[in-house]
């Protein structure tokens, strides 16, 4: 199987007044049409990895890589316009909190239609019909009504479904989900994950699932990458997470409390400077 995404030695750094901050320091992985989880604590570079692939790194950031290849397209050589044409059309991204990631003064329907009409020359009526279909596909019961609602008028779970609809309507091959359920109530997290999983499988997309929730990632993805301080410290199939070798991964796993066991004091993550190298 040909790789959908091939990342080799990706580095993202931000020059600041006090020196260069290296957010991502040499990340390499390949992705087929599978579900890849990236876990790590805040600041481990997982989100910046996703944004670099999207081409959404902040303007002053510097990206360097041995290879950044998306389905035959060299993302490093692609012009700004070419990358923009890819975004939303072939690579899409779901953000964390629908409360902030949807435009508050535009109806949900218009925001979904906007994605579609940016990438495909479809008429108004056709675009609306497809947006309604898409809303139905993310299991919104009354698409016609939700189409005309503003983001503040829907719940978090419904907002995130609308977000997924907005990002998937142009039929991307790769979806990067950056903490897509972290802002949601636990009860709706599973619904949204279920929808995401179903759509990814049905459409044969590749998925990069970025999260800090190790258990969620291991139950949801095929493969897991554990990042620490901008580097990959361990990569392993999700099913074999308990066999993790790296002390950081083991530390993360060890932090998860289990029902029925009393542990005092709670374990604290051990961070050794040599892991950074």
């Amino acid at each position: 199987m040909r790789a959908l995404l091939d990342v080799e030695d990706l580095r993202v750094s931000f020059p600041t007044r006090t020196g260069v901050i290296e957010a991502v320091r040499g990340v390499s992985f390949t992705l087929g049409r599978e579900r890849l989880g990236i876990v790590g604590e805040s600041g481990s570079g997982k989100s910046q990895t996703g944004r670099a692939i999207m081409g959404l790194t902040a303007e002053h950031g510097v990206i360097a890589a041995g290879k950044l290849d998306f389905n035959g397209t060299d993302l490093l050589k692609a012009s700004k316009a070419e990358r923009r044409a890819l975004r939303g059309k072939r690579i899409a991204m779901v953000l964390q909190d629908p409360k902030y990631s949807l435009n508050p003064v535009m109806t949900i329907g218009r925001q979904i239609v906007e994605t579609l009409r940016t990438h495909e020359p479809v008429g108004r009526a056709e675009a609306k019909r497809r947006a309604l279909d898409m809303l139905a596909a993310v299991q919104i019961r009354d698409p016609e009504r939700v189409f005309g609602l503003y983001p503040h008028e829907v719940s978090g779970g419904m907002g995130q479904r609308a977000m997924i609809a907005m990002m998937l309507i142009a039929g991307p091959e790769l979806l990067i989900a950056d903490e897509p359920t972290s802002a949601l109530d636990v009860t709706v997290q599973l619904d949204v994950l279920g929808i995401l999983n179903h759509l990814v499988a049905e459409r044969g997309m590749g998925l990069i699932f970025i999260s800090h929730d190790l258990r969620l990632v291991s139950s949801f993805c095929d493969r897991v990458i554990v990042m620490y301080a901008g580097r990959i410290v361990e990569e392993l199939p999700a099913a074999r997470l308990s066999d993790a070798q790296h002390p950081y991964t083991r530390g993360l796993l060890n932090c998860m409390p289990e029902i029925g066991t009393e542990r005092h004091p709670l374990p604290v993550l051990d961070r050794k400077p040599e892991w950074k190298t």
């Binding site: 902030y100 435009n103 994605t115």
Partner: protein
């Protein structure tokens, strides 16, 4: 939301109509209260200033019995609450008394001077917004760049240079030296007998009369003072636009819009500015209301027969009726503009709409 969903459509419509009625009623209460406050303050000012309204009318050489009779006629012997009642009745029926200075009813004077000020303020605000918004957007998008600095310096100059100085300078250059525009006043004396004002807004009147020669002349009179006022409101509007835009451009929905593959132009004008427009409405409305007070300095420099000049002249001649009348008009304008910006706010921001 779930409450709304289960409700029958008829119930929802009734609820919505009720909500709208309630918000209109709320509006009216706010307006009435503000207006009552305005009247109370102007009434109070009229009583505490050391100007005897009787002497202002009869003059200080009138015999005592005349003074006494006029005092009774004016109701000044009545208790204050009755005086206030009479005052309120008068004001609400458009009677502000007679101006000592012009001997006209104050209302007639204001009908003459206020359109002049309003016309100037409107053209000025349009210029200010048309220049200020794009400049502010440009400065925000190219933050820290050369164009950002230029916009900021231009804004700073607009903020700090005294308008009378700039006005005189502009007259000297564009009127006296280059002759590109007409000088002081609203319209040339040539048109004094042929031009008949209808609304008092001369540009509008010229269009109504289809008097294109007059229109050109009026335009060449208004363009200089309006540009100056426009420059000052541009300075304010561009600065505020810049900061609102920076705030919006840092939001997550902008990242989402980029992730959708939208063009930068669409993101800036269609998404960020659309959101920044909500607070901008208030800024532009306030700056417009400020200009409607009539800027005394501009009106003096350009011999513009507006409200600012009228009130200042009246004040210097202790013409209290005219001053208070002008104050009430300005207050009413502020209330009206605030209401208008409230309505616009609701139109632009769905979150503030009552459901």
């Amino acid at each position: 939301m779930s409450m709304m969903e289960t409700r029958k459509p008829a119930g929802r419509a009734r609820r919505r109509a009720y909500g709208r009625l309630k918000s209109v009623a709320g509006f009216l209460v706010v307006v009435a209260t503000t207006y009552l406050g305005l009247l109370a303050v102007t009434f109070f000012i009229g009583r505490v200033v050391p100007i005897d309204p009787v002497l202002a009318i009869v003059g200080d050489r009138a015999p005592a019995h005349v003074v006494e009779r006029v005092r009774l006629e004016m109701g000044l012997n009545l208790p204050y609450y009755q005086q206030f009642w009479l005052y309120m009745k008068g004001v609400l029926s458009g009677d502000f008394g007679t101006s000592v200075l012009t001997t006209n009813p104050v209302m007639t004077d204001i009908r003459r001077v206020f359109p002049a000020t309003m016309e100037l303020a409107t053209v000025g605000t349009i210029i200010g917004a048309l220049l200020g918004i794009p400049l502010g957007v440009l400065a925000a998008v190219r933050r820290g760049s050369m164009s950002d600095q230029v916009v900021r310096i231009v804004g700073l100059v607009g903020y700090s240079v005294p308008i009378f100085w700039l006005g005189l300078l502009a007259l000297l250059v564009f009127y006296a030296r280059l002759g590109w525009v007409s000088g002081p006043g609203r319209i040339d004396v040539v048109f004094e007998y042929t031009f008949t004002p209808v609304t008092g807004f001369f540009l509008l009147d010229a269009i109504i009369n289809r008097d294109w020669a007059a229109f050109r002349d009026i335009l060449s009179h208004i363009i200089l003072p309006a540009s100056l006022l426009g420059y000052f409101s541009m300075a304010y509007i561009s600065r505020m636009t810049r900061s609102f835009m920076l705030n919006e451009l840092g939001q997550e929905y902008i990242v989402a819009a980029r992730a959708k593959g939208l063009s930068e132009a669409r993101i800036i004008w269609g998404h960020a500015l659309r959101n920044a427009a909500v607070p901008l409405i208030t800024v532009i409305a306030l700056s417009y209301a400020g200009l409607l007070e009539g800027s005394v300095l501009t009106e003096t420099v350009f011999a513009w027969p507006g409200l600012g000049l009228y009130i200042t002249n009246s004040l210097q001649n202790a013409d209290m009726n005219a001053v208070l009348g002008g104050t009430i008009v300005i207050g009413s304008v502020f209330i009206a503009i605030n209401l208008l910006s409230d309505v616009l706010y609701r139109m632009l921001d769905p979150r503030t709409r009552t459901r």
